[in-house]
Amino acid sequence: MTIDIAIVDGPLGPVPATATRESHETGAAVMFEGIVRAQEDGRQLAALDYQAYRPMADRLLREIGERIAHKHGLDRLSVWHSRGRVSVGEVSFRLIVESSHRHESINAMNEFIDLLKRDVPIWKRPVWPER
């Protein structure tokens, strides 16, 4: 089982080539990406500015990842989260979950995101367009 955690400055780049297929036993790889939407509460948005309380955010991401990976018997769980400014249309969050079969990966993905949104100290502040 492998857990990869990274909080990076700015938007996330393309998916790393090494991010998937932990072993030949892996039969399912599921990826979720969070993308900054163009509108927030009905208003046009320019970007989101993410703030993370470190190292607590890093530690909780890892703890949740390890707990979920163990519970669902995952081969690998990789998560990236932005901090700082991420413009509309850019990726601020990516989660890749790998397991032998799809059910484990899909269930693990939902559970991880629910816990992230409940516990991990990361905040976002809307950045409005300049008029």
């Binding site: 969070g34 993410y50 309380y53 607590m56 969050f93 992230l116 949104k117 100290p121």
Partner: protein
């Protein structure tokens, strides 16, 4: 003894700063610290019921004793993902 509480997100916005300081007479629990903040920082009152304390980068139980040497953060509703 002075305790500094780090603030983030809407809590920091509400008081216009990224930390607040509370004067206490000795070690206190998280529940007591919450009461201090409620009394001395009115702008935080709407957020306090849903906020949690982190002590040294881990969520703290309400009865956990907090000391001046601890790193204390008020963690309101988070918004990652």
């Amino acid at each position: 003894m002075r305790v500094t509480v780090l603030l983030f997100g809407s809590e920091a916005t509400a008081v216009g700063r990224d930390s607040v300081t509370v004067e206490i007479s000795g070690p206190i629990t998280g529940a007591e610290l919450r009461e201090h903040l409620n009394e001395h920082w009115p702008a935080l009152r709407p957020m306090l019921p849903s906020a949690r304390f982190a002590v040294n980068h881990a969520f703290a139980a309400p009865d956990q004793v907090i000391r001046a040497t601890d790193e204390i953060a008020l963690i309101g509703l988070v918004g990652g993902g």
